[in-house]
């Protein structure tokens, strides 16, 4: 994380030297004509003691005939000239006022309590807002929420009419009840009389991707790309690295991509800024409530010669609007634009109201325009990419889309009873994952597609790529997806990356959750925050990118394994014993040394819907009863035959069982142990 760095700049308008840290500026005034008389200016009169902040302000206003500036300079904040009694150089000990001002930086985040004690009245402003007025004589307090590292402009004013004279400003930081004068304890509050200016900070983006704990995020690769559509080389999205680099996530799924950003800005038209003038160069028509917009006309004589009117993209119109505008049209005299806003302008309360004329249907604006170039960062995209060496999508899909998912899908779809509808076991994201044909509906087309995938008759997606199965969803959307809104969520489909915009002077920490198309039982997806998935798969194999996991345990069932060699074959026998668990789905994965043996066939005693699918070096096999009408309570035997490519004296390790999954009707996984 980048830290804010501050460069202290001299204010050129001040005539005295400024020391910076620990100091505040001050001005002291003779008030009440120096003899106690009241003063009247512009119809307002101040007299002896200030009754409120307005009267106090008037006493220190040199426009008042009774007030004049006598001294100005700097003092240590933690001194008698500062806030230890508020008395810097001054003309006398009666009929005077003092103005202190500077900047403080909170060193803690939280509530600071400030106190003012004065004789006579005093007041405190922070960032221009009056926080506290204390009439003579006593102490008042105010709590102010401050953010660590942030600078605040602060001012105090106080006045002395006669008698005792003092002003004390103290604060108590969030971490203690002790009080300090500004400048007394820099570990809680820093003070300076030189305006702090932030060093420009480049955008920073630190992604947080949440995966299922079974996953190994540091095996997942991504690239960072930028929108190059405005460049001449043709491609819309280019890798920000000239070497087309890709990167791995950190093990916790996070990645700070700040170093991979393209910070070269591009032109984005012009911005117009207005100041008060003498000629009505601008008109704003009455608000269009139907389209929620204003039409703004700008006299063409205000534009520089050769200006392309469609280039004007932003407008700062007095204090009424500072933002985007949309080109409408232009004619011989006027260039017209729209300002789209849900909120109507308050012309009468504008500080520029004297430059605005209500002309019954439009407002005439005595505004002078200036124009400047607008530059913006290019749009960026983080895209997860296929890393063949570490991520085999076909294997991964077979790992997370299993008989448990298919049973869960059928159970959910048929569970609504004769009235239809869904059973209600699955959450919104699980149903999105179950919409495997991505047509926006979860129906029997999806369940049969899942069944065909399980049986090896159809691929889950056209291409077996990361980009065809991954669903990267903003965390808030993921957690907020329900069975009611899942169809209308913006990221309901496949999405293997995220688009993001760079924001100047900003540290972004976008949060996403990553799920996968077809992962209906959430075996490889993170749970929604505050909920738990209805079903969860057993992960028994040590697949690439998938960790072994302790699994949801129900009842454990031992499956017998036998491997024997005949003259022509190796026969693997898997035997599920008689049981009363109502198992309606089974799936095993048998890996084999495809250079020494080849898959031949399978024989089974199961009367369920059986399947066997051959991949390059493994087969998946098993049984399923999609409607749950049949089960494996009577036990079942699978005999898998492999042909020998050569003669063997030993067969140890030629074939192994790397996955075993048994599932009951509601999709719950029964833990199985191969013996």
């Amino acid at each position: 994380m980048k830290k804010l760095l501050y460069i202290l700049l001299l204010l050129p308008t001040l005539v005295f030297g400024q020391s910076g840290d620990g100091y505040v500026n001050y001005k002291s005034y003779k008030t009440h004509y120096g003899n106690g008389n009241s003063s009247t200016y512009n119809g307002y009169t101040y007299s002896g003691l200030a009754g409120d902040a307005v009267e106090l302000q008037a006493m220190l206003d040199v426009n008042h005939p009774g007030t004049s500036l006598t001294h100005e300079g700097e003092v240590l904040a933690n001194s008698t000239g500062g806030f230890q009694s508020g008395r810097p150089s001054r003309w006398a000990n009666d009929y005077y006022g003092v103005y202190h001002y500077g900047w403080f930086q909170a060193q803690e985040t939280g509530t600071y309590r400030f106190s003012l004690q004065s004789d006579d009245g005093s007041a405190l402003w922070v960032d221009g807002d009056l926080k506290l007025f204390r009439p003579c004589c006593g102490t008042s307090y105010v709590d102010i929420s401050l953010t660590s590292g942030q600078w605040y402009y602060f001012e105090t004013k106080w006045q002395e009419y006669g008698g005792g004279d003092y002003m004390y400003l103290k604060y108590s930081p969030p971490s203690t009840t002790a009080y300090y004068y500004p400048g007394q304890q820099t570990s809680s509050l820093k003070v300076t009389n030189i305006e702090p200016t932030e060093e420009p900070i480049d955008p920073s983006v630190d992604f947080q991707f949440e995966f299922n704990s079974n996953m190994e995020p540091d095996k997942i690769k991504f690239g960072v790309y930028y929108d190059a559509s405005t460049e001449q080389n043709g491609s819309d999205w280019l890798n920000t690295s000239t070497t087309n680099s890709t990167y791995y996530l950190d093990s916790d799924g996070t990645k700070d991509v700040t170093d991979y950003l393209n910070l070269v800005k591009m032109s984005d038209g012009k911005k117009a800024t207005t100041t008060g003038g003498s000629v009505e160069w601008c008109v704003v028509y009455d608000y269009d409530t139907t389209n929620k917009r204003y039409r703004v006309g700008i006299d063409k004589r205000e534009f520089p010669s050769g200006f392309t009117f469609t280039d004007l993209k932003q407008l700062k119109l007095f204090d009424l609007w500072d933002g985007e505008i949309t080109y409408m049209s232009d004619d011989a005299y006027w260039a017209n634009y729209y300002i789209y806003t849900d909120t109507q302008f308050d012309f009468t309360s504008s500080t520029f109201s004297s430059y605005i004329r209500d002309a019954n249907g439009f407002y005439g604006m005595r505004a002078e325009f200036s124009f400047e170039d607008v530059e913006i960062y290019k749009k960026h995209r983080l895209l997860f990419v296929h890393a063949q060496d570490l991520w085999n999508p076909q294997l991964f899909i077979d790992d997370y889309v299993t008989v448990g998912d298919v049973v869960s899908a059928f159970s959910e779809l048929s569970g609504g009873g004769i009235n239809g509808g869904l059973k209600g076991d699955l959450n919104g994201v699980q149903i999105q994952n179950a919409d495997v044909n991505q047509d926006g509906n979860f129906d029997f087309q999806d369940t049969f597609k899942l069944l065909k995938f399980l049986q090896g008759e159809e691929n889950l997606t056209t291409y077996q790529r990361t980009s065809d199965i991954m669903r990267v969803i903003p965390k808030s959307e993921y957690d907020g997806t329900t069975t009611s809104n899942w169809k209308t969520q913006p990221n309901k489909g496949i999405k293997s990356g995220v688009d993001f915009e760079l924001i100047y002077d900003s540290i972004q920490t976008p949060q996403y959750k990553v799920t996968f198309l077809g992962d209906i039982n959430f075996s490889h997806s993170p749970a929604q925050t505050g909920t738990s998935p209805a079903t969860q798969s057993t992960i028994s194999s040590r697949m690439m990118s998938v960790r072994n996991s302790s699994t949801q345990k129900n009842t454990s069932l031992e499956v017998d394994l036998d491997i024997e060699k005949t003259n022509e074959n190796i026969v693997v026998t898997l035997c599920i014993p008689e049981n009363n668990l109502n198992i309606i789905g089974s799936e095993f994965r048998i890996r084999f040394d495809n250079e020494r043996v080849s898959y031949d066939r399978i024989e089974t005693t199961s009367n369920l819907n059986n399947f066997d699918v051959e991949r390059s070096d493994y087969i998946k096999l098993g049984s399923i009863s999609t409607d749950g009408s049949l089960n494996l309570n009577g036990g079942v035997e699978y005999k898998i035959y492999f042909s020998l490519q050569q003669t063997f004296d030993s067969i140890l390790g030629l074939i192994s069982v790397t996955k075993s999954e048994l599932v009951i009707k509601n999709g719950t996984i029964i833990e199985s142990v191969i013996k």
């Binding site: 028994s540 194999s541 040590r542 072994n548 394994l561 036998d562 491997i563 024997e564 890996r591 084999f592 040394d593 495809n594 250079e595 020494r596 070096d617 493994y618 063997f648 004296d649 030993s650 067969i651 140890l652 390790g653 030629l654 074939i655 192994s656 069982v657 790397t658 075993s660 142990v673 191969i674 013996k675």
Partner: protein
């Protein structure tokens, strides 16, 4: 830092842990000619096995690793349901 690989031993059960490679021969001695089993477990589940009738004394078998998952696995020699020897093998 250079990590030294685990040595490969012919008498595999004489070591508590050893790295194995595809097609590696390994030997062990038995004291009966009854049917024996070599089994490999990943955790508590058996992933592969071989049944054989040994010769008295020294026996040599071959271990194929291409179908096995990478990492640490447990290799055991079983006779009459009794585990008579065991070791850990590492597959990289």
């Amino acid at each position: 830092m250079v990590v030294e690989p685990y040595p490969q031993y012919e008498m595999i059960f004489e070591e508590s842990i050893s790295k194995v490679i595809d097609g590696q021969e390994f030997s062990f001695e038995v004291t009966s000619i009854d049917k024996h089993q070599l089994i490999i477990k990943n955790g508590i589940s058996v992933i592969t096995k071989e049944s054989f009738n040994p010769t008295m004394g020294l026996n040599t078998k071959i271990l194929y690793t291409k179908s096995l998952p990478n990492g640490e696995l447990n290799l055991s020699l079983i006779n009459d349901s009794l585990e008579i020897a065991k070791t850990t093998i590492i597959i990289e």
